[in-house]
Subunit: 623 residues, 2 copies
């Protein structure tokens, strides 16, 4: 009995210890942790969070050339900020075989044109009945910004050609009642409504139609940014649709939880935007994609409010029209809030990286990983060119030991392990979970990696790779001013079609580029950015030097469409997560039957008969 | 170098060993395992698989009274088959406080009525152009069967009252082209089409409308039952919508894989039915619910075929109308096939069970389990009454050691551990996965269980619990002939509302039952049948002795609706997985806004303007 008592005592204490470690979770019956937390309204906009109107990102950050002629990131926001990147320019010159240099500048003429607003006085008066003066804006640059996302064509247009039709008015509702009033008013005055979140879409989703005769109102949702409640016992939260990713993360973190959704645009994109574009996040392996995370959606439609009495863990209640909002891209109504799943902040977060001799080795590793183990929260595999890209963005090293260490690493990798620097690739990893989970995932993953010739390259390289994502977003706009045009496009595809898809896309782009006698060589690179048991997401970058090309943005588009053709032929989807917008609407008949296309039109006509929500994406323009 | 060589060799061998254990998965580049398997057509129906027309299940199985007056399951199909269950009848008599006995029989008058078919000769002729004679059936009992599912009201009607309107014709398409021809013909001749899978729904989904003037054609999909292809490299399979669960499981098993979807009706229900009812399966913890499992759906609609060029791991392609099919309950078109995820058969499958002192202990255990560990493939918690129910269904023991063992167990549980036999409950478990996964899940689960006063009760009790599920389905029809009416209903609800919901539902039913002066006492019991981080599925059984009650099926319905009212008030959903059908359509305005209801009607009217797919579920009858 004594031993069993001792054993019981030990077990009891162990249980206590275990419980202490899980301090986020109280007994269901405990009254110490409130069931539902209603956070205070977040602080008003802060000047240091100001965003640029003409380029991606925060105003305080911009790529530039330093006094020494090296590429540098101005500001201090990011890890890479303020550090010279001496290898970048030479590398770009070498890859593109072009004369990119500080002197060779294509000065932007932003803003190229801003049409006068088309706004009838009675409409404005009607809006002023429920909007305060600072909730209505006719400022030209503000309207211009609300008329585009971040496709290369839009960014080129606002600097070098012209964007065309833009919203006539921007409004900033602060509560759902105002959205409802706005919808009613817009119906009465026959205006078109286009919701706006972070303005980060890359499908021309915000582009206005030049033939649009009605007043176009851009509804900037970002003043509806409250977290309405956080329920830590049932692991749900209700969040307004205009809440921006970085604020959601920060606010939820103060309550010890996370939504787990981190797209590359998370600093700026909004919950409503995520739903409307059927978004995917970096850590979907652990948390799921947006359709896995959202339990309920409230929408203001042309016919009234689409809402439910409460969110359910899971239900079968017939046709679930809330699912229509996923991927609706602003064509069916204004998403005002959503109930989402939340998760405890992970006990442990660790980065990692593995080098592989070739992309095929790394790819095979990812395949086996998807079958044999629980993949980490994030696992990405870049091809050799993107690996070089990452190296080219390494800051000037501080000399001394750091330099020596770098040289030794390089020697070891290339001479001892025999990796070919023009074939080797890198796989970056984020592990999240309990200590035990993470240890297990790491153990199994590195074992599988070794089986495929992989060599652990440490947490630091992994971390760097992920941090790079946020600063790299600024690079496109910078390069555009130096005669380089570049963009990303992506797809999802089965495992067995993926490698060939990467090959044919790369080959076709290089071939078409040469055929057109375009300058230098194009930059085409791919990475596997998400894995599923059934396939992968492949993310391409494509760029080239455009000096001397009359309409580089049109050339770019033509080539991207050719690439998309190849993607579809190779069995890839139209998009894994970016969506359709206007950019890819012409491809819809290639991927779905005529009936499916007609169903979409009919549905739009039924649910929004006057095309009040006139974003016109996916060809749903009311016709 | 020698040690590292030795280490490398060891690692290599370990890798080989590891790979050998994963013999289902070949290298992407291997040519030894074909990429895609196209199975042969399954064998034609076998007589031993014949199903009853008047009651649930296979013809070879039926509850009965033995010569000794004990309840027994006739046949040899199930584990419990052929064994006397001596405790059952006494237990029922005690719980319901009624005179249930072999002599007290309410002889069914099945079939109570079969209306003549309403079928115009030209319509029949048109069908005979593409259907063979054995694909068309006007037989009365066959038509009757196709006009109902398994609600208590329907089962009571076909034996004691009358079902009313039934299909005029049953057809059995064998290929999608025939479905398309059927839809075209039905449009021309203004017939109504109702798809039929396993006929196991419990929402009156197949019930025909007495006001229906058109010829009603029941489309029995079960001749479209092929597995079209199995892709083991990309872990997907394409399966025709009429394929029945047990056949899908058996066929996929020959290829070493599973779809992982096992609803309690899996022996009879079909893939199309699962999609149409937004079904949930027993092992959803491991594999997901139907919406997680289906990658693509092909549908024949009033306007043509809804289909895609190929299935994607995941995509963002705008409005995804395939999602509309989930929960559509036959109102939008005929689902003809779907691409689904497949999974390797688990390396290990183990059962388990844990006894808890009270339901609250067990519930708290499940809460902690959902937060602290990866729950096993299935975990269910029954309340005390259902625990007694399980014990009452134990076969007469073989005497000797088995008897002794049982007595010792009982003594230990009640006297040593102090469990109150009128409060204790049981939790049954199914673990599936790799050996390591399962070991880990078990370790963590039993630790958490111990923390809540749980006592391991072994694999055998767990296995028995799950096997019971399939044979219990036959009991309702048996009891109905002995003046007991019973049904199940379910909901999903947050963790914090669940216990109270169980309480108020039970109390209200008992109260209302007594208020009406109904005979004896009702049987009301609940179990937690699924868990999510955000809540649970609660599954109720409700039954009573109805001798002397004029319209017991109406009384039952009235009481169930009262229970549903309480469920909604307590924060529960309209249904976790059974669906809406006609049974719960009146509740829809209580759970969704008027706009949502109108959107559904408008959508139905747009996508099926003549209500060709006239099942009329969820109030979508074209009005």
């Amino acid at each position: 009995m004594d031993t069993s008592k001792g054993l019981l005592a030990a077990l009891f204490l162990q249980g206590l210890e275990h419980r202490r470690n899980l301090s986020y979770f109280a007994d269901l019956s405990s009254t110490k942790v409130p069931n539902v937390i209603t956070p205070t309204t977040p602080p008003a906009e802060r000047p240091e969070e100001s965003e640029s109107l003409d380029v991606w990102g925060f105003r305080d950050t911009r790529f530039d050339f330093s006094e020494s002629g090296h590429v540098i990131i101005r500001g201090s926001r990011y890890e890479l900020s303020g550090k010279e990147l001496p290898r970048f320019l030479p590398w770009v010159r070498e890859v593109l075989e072009c004369d990119v240099s500080p002197r060779n500048v294509n000065s932007p003429a932003y803003p190229t044109s801003i049409p006068e607003p088309f706004l009838k006085p009675d409409f404005l008066e009607a809006l002023q009945k429920f909007f305060r003066p600072n909730q209505i804006d006719t400022n030209g640059e503000i309207r211009l910004r609300h008329g585009h996302g971040h496709t290369q064509e839009e960014m080129y247009a606002i600097k070098y050609t012209r964007l065309g039709r833009i919203p006539d008015l921007v409004v900033y509702p602060e509560a759902e009642a105002q959205v409802t009033a706005l919808v009613e008013t817009a119906k009465r005055h026959n205006a078109a409504l286009i919701p706006y979140g972070g303005g980060t879409n890359v499908t021309d989703a915000l582009r206005c139609d030049g033939r649009e005769q009605r007043t176009i109102v851009s509804i900037d949702m970002r003043k509806m940014n409250r977290i309405l409640w956080v329920d830590r016992k049932n692991m749900m939260a209700s969040i307004e649709a205009g809440a921006v990713g970085r604020h959601i993360m920060a606010e939820l973190k103060t309550h010890g939880v996370t939504m787990g959704h981190e797209p590359d645009s998370v600093e700026f994109s909004t919950l409503g935007g995520w739903i409307a574009t059927n978004a995917s996040g970096m850590k979907k392996n652990r948390y799921g994609n947006i359709e896995d995370l959202v339990l309920d959606v409230s929408v203001v439609t042309a016919a009234g409010k689409l809402e439910r009495t409460g969110a359910s863990p899971r239900e079968s209640v017939g046709l679930d029209l809330r699912r229509l909002m996923f991927g609706s891209e602003g064509t069916l109504g204004i998403i005002t809030s959503a109930v989402v799943k939340i998760f405890p902040l992970p006990e442990v977060q660790e980065y990692g990286s593995v080098l592989f001799p070739t992309f095929e080795h790394g790819f095979q590793f990812m395949y086996d990983l998807s079958r044999e183990s629980t993949p980490p929260a994030s696992v990405r595999l870049v091809d050799n060119l993107q690996f070089q890209f990452g190296l080219a963005l390494k800051p000037k090293s501080s000399g001394g030991l750091a330099d020596l260490k770098s040289k030794i690493e390089k020697f070891f990798v290339t001479k001892i392990k025999g990796f070919d620097p023009y074939k080797m690739v890198a796989c970056t990893l984020v592990f999240e979970g309990t200590r035990g989970e993470v240890a297990r995932q790491q153990h199994e993953l590195y074992e599988i990696a070794a089986r495929h010739g992989g060599m652990k390259a440490g947490a630091e390289n992994g971390r760097r790779g992920y941090q790079l994502t946020y600063s790299i977003a600024y690079i496109r706009d910078f390069l555009m001013s130096y005669y380089i045009i570049a963009e990303s496009f992506e797809t999802s595809v089965s495992w067995t079609n993926a490698l060939q898809l990467c090959d044919v896309v790369k080959h076709r782009l290089v071939e078409e580029y040469a055929k057109r006698g375009l300058p230098g060589k194009p930059f085409v690179t791919a990475r596997v950015t998400q894995i599923y048991r059934t396939g992968v997401c492949i993310y391409f970058y494509f760029g080239f030097y455009y000096k001397g090309i009359a309409n580089p943005q049109e050339v770019y588009l033509e080539l991207e469409n050719i690439a998309r053709d190849e993607i579809l032929k190779a069995g890839g989807s139209l998009s894994h997560h970016h969506g359709v917008g206007k950019l890819r609407r012409a491809f819809l008949p290639q991927i779905m039957s005529q009936t499916a296309i007609q169903w979409k039109r009919d549905l739009k006509k039924t649910l929004d008969p006057t095309n009040l929500f006139g974003a016109g994406n996916q060809g749903l323009d009311g016709s």
